[in-house]
């Protein structure tokens, strides 16, 4: 892993597809370790990953990865970076072990090393028993694992993972996240995890870069970002819930609905629980549950997107 504190830096980067700017004036710094790249679909996450690999040439700005300039040293960077694409991808007509060994050779490993590494990595990702099967016969979860294996086989210093839990069942998802956590925290490999699933990022990453509409709207260590700037309450009301939410929003309180009937209300410094009660009374509702809470990544995400 590089000694440098930052594994990737984007300086005022702009990338466009035709007239559409996919990234606009993006400046971001990815520290070593596990960094989440969060954003809704279409935010520019995949574009950023491809730009970090040098697959997309920026229309403006500068990118460096592992202290190498992407514009001048793309091959050197790609030799030290592993990329797990978002969608299904394999090289047709190969067994898993042949496929992964072939990928290792393409990354510059000698043939004998490549085959040995392929076996090791396939065991590591849990495909040891299925390594002689044709990749095309794999299930969705197995395909995700083999994509991780091909990204890992040449022992990169940096892993770029694009939606690694896409399409996986809960058990497979948990296993994949455990693997990613192990890579990040026990194998000394930095990684950038692109996802729109916040719990995934929160469970693996130490820092986060939040994107929306081609711009970075928030970045930093998750712990620091989660330090509350105001107060958060979990509230459940009986009565006209929509009117209550409208009332809170009129008071400039951030109000977010959860899977249950509980609302998460983000209040600015100085505001108190009494304002929740008075708001409920004003719309004829009753507060049935009120509990102070701490910010989650989801709160930060909602706040960041709200400000963007």
């Amino acid at each position: 892993m590089p000694d440098s504190a930052q594994i990737a830096v984007l300086d005022r980067v702009g990338i466009r597809y035709g007239a559409q700017w996919a990234l606009s004036e993006v400046s971001a710094a990815f520290p070593a370790g596990a960094v989440g790249l969060l954003g809704p679909n279409g935010a520019g996450k995949s574009t950023m990953l491809k730009a970090l690999l040098g697959l997309l040439k920026p229309d403006s700005g500068r990118i460096s990865v592992l202290d190498l300039d992407v514009a001048t040293k793309p091959l050197e960077i790609r030799a030290r970076v592993g990329y797990m694409p978002e969608n299904d991808a394999h090289i047709p007509g190969m067994s898993a072990v042949t496929f992964v060994a072939y990928c290792a050779e393409l990354s510059g490993l000698p043939a004998s090393d490549a085959m040995q590494r392929a076996h090791e990595v396939l065991h590591y990702v849990g495909l040891g028993e299925a390594r002689y099967r044709n990749v095309e016969t794999y299930s969705t979860g197995m395909k995700q694992r083999i994509k991780l294996a091909q990204a890992l086989v040449h022992d990169p210093d940096l892993l770029l993972l694009d939606e690694p839990t896409n399409g996986m069942d809960p058990k497979g998802r948990e296993d994949m996240l455990a693997l990613v956590r192990d890579i990040a925290h026990n194998r000394n490999i930095s990684l950038i995890l692109s996802s729109h699933v916040m719990p995934d990022v929160e469970s693996v990453c130490d820092a986060v870069v939040v994107m929306n509409r081609g711009r970075v709207v928030m970045q930093g260590p998750i712990d620091a970002l989660k330090k509350p700037t105001g107060r958060i309450f979990e509230v459940r009301v009986k009565g006209d819930r929509d009117a209550f939410v409208d009332r809170l929003r009129a008071l400039a309180f951030e109000c977010r609905e959860t899977d249950s009937e509980v609302l998460r209300v983000l209040m600015p410094p100085g505001a108190g629980a009494d304002q929740l009660f008075s708001s409920a009374v004003s719309v004829g509702a009753q507060v049935r549950h009120l509990k102070p809470s701490v910010p989650t990544l989801e709160d930060l995400f909602a706040e960041a997107l709200g400000e963007a």
Binding site: Y17, G18, K50, L53, L55, L56, L75, E76, R78, A79, V81, Y83, P85, N87, D88, A89, H90, I91, P92, G93, Y102, C103, E105, L106, S107, G108, L109, P110, D113, R117, E120, V121, H123, Y124, G126, G128, Q150, H154, D155, D182, R187, N188
Partner: protein, 282 residues
């Protein structure tokens, strides 16, 4: 932590020099190709004429009555005719070996796997091209050169080779032109589709349709001035010039050479546009 996790370890060895990816791609492609029975069948079929010619060379050198028969005697024309005979097999091998090379990768979204590694687009295309070129060289240049080598071996002297030294560059140049044209055309077509079958049909269509047009025009104008519209005819025309034989058609040979160059250039242009790591959806 599951036991298997302990098997992962950081790697300590170095990497081979970057830039050999084309060799890895080519070697892998050829390995896959030679394991396929249809390919081996085509190869055996392609070498039967070479064996027959070898027998002819032996007989002409050692049986006086055979060397008296004009069509069995060893002449530069025999080598030109041999390469002409190989044309159908070159066609079938090109289709078999080349049609899926890029189309299958596009279908499986493999391009991003190649190009996210230290592999340039040029290396990728070169690696794929080498697969087809080696396969085609095995049924054109290699047997022709082997036959030329057998002439002095069976005759016991270098008289024929010394008198026809131009055959070495002629066989090499003709094979190179034919192989390069076939390779880049099939790769370009392979890069525009996800289906190897569709690519095969397009390639056959391109070859036979242009020849059919030439036939129709030729019948209408009662001449062969328009042979340049046919891919096959252009190759034949250039081949005859390289083997110092009279051109078969009225089209100036340099025009045929220009058409061949234009097709190769167009194919390379198509490849450069289609082989991209990122699929941009408008």
């Amino acid at each position: 932590m599951p036991i298997h996790r302990d098997r992962y370890r950081r790697r300590e060895g170095g990497v081979d020099a970057l830039g050999r990816a084309w060799l890895v791609i080519a070697a892998n492609g050829l390995r896959i190709l030679v394991r396929r029975r249809p390919f081996l069948f085509l190869m055996i079929l392609a070498w039967i004429p070479a064996v027959v010619r070898a027998v002819q060379i032996y007989a002409a050198a050692n049986v006086p009555s055979v060397s008296q028969v004009e069509f069995l005697s060893i002449t530069p024309r025999m080598f030109r005719d041999f390469l002409n005979q190989q044309d159908p097999l070159v066609f079938f091998l090109t289709v078999y070996a080349g049609s899926g090379l890029i189309a299958d990768d596009i279908r499986a979204r493999a391009l991003q796997l190649y190009l996210s590694r230290p592999v340039t687009r040029t290396q990728y295309i070169a690696g794929k091209a080498v697969i087809v070129m080696v396969a085609l060289a095995c049924v054109t240049w290699l047997p022709a050169m082997l036959l030329l080598f057998l002439v002095p071996v069976f005759a016991g002297n270098m008289t024929f080779v010394a008198a026809n030294l131009f055959l070495i560059p002629a066989i090499s140049a003709y094979s190179l032109i034919h192989i390069t044209l076939s390779t880049f055309t099939i790769l370009a077509l392979s890069s525009v589709s996800k289906s190897r079958w569709f690519v095969a049909v397009m390639y056959a269509g391109l070859a036979f349709f242009t020849h059919a047009i030439f036939g129709v025009i030729g019948a209408a104008v009662e001449g062969t001035m328009f042979s340049w519209v046919s891919v096959f005819a252009n190759v034949t025309q250039v081949g005859n010039v390289l083997f110092r034989m009279p051109p078969r058609y009225d089209t100036p040979p340099f025009v045929s050479a220009a058409v061949i160059s234009a097709i190769i250039a167009l194919s390379i242009f198509v490849l450069s546009r289609r082989i991209r790591p990122v699929e941009v959806v408008s």
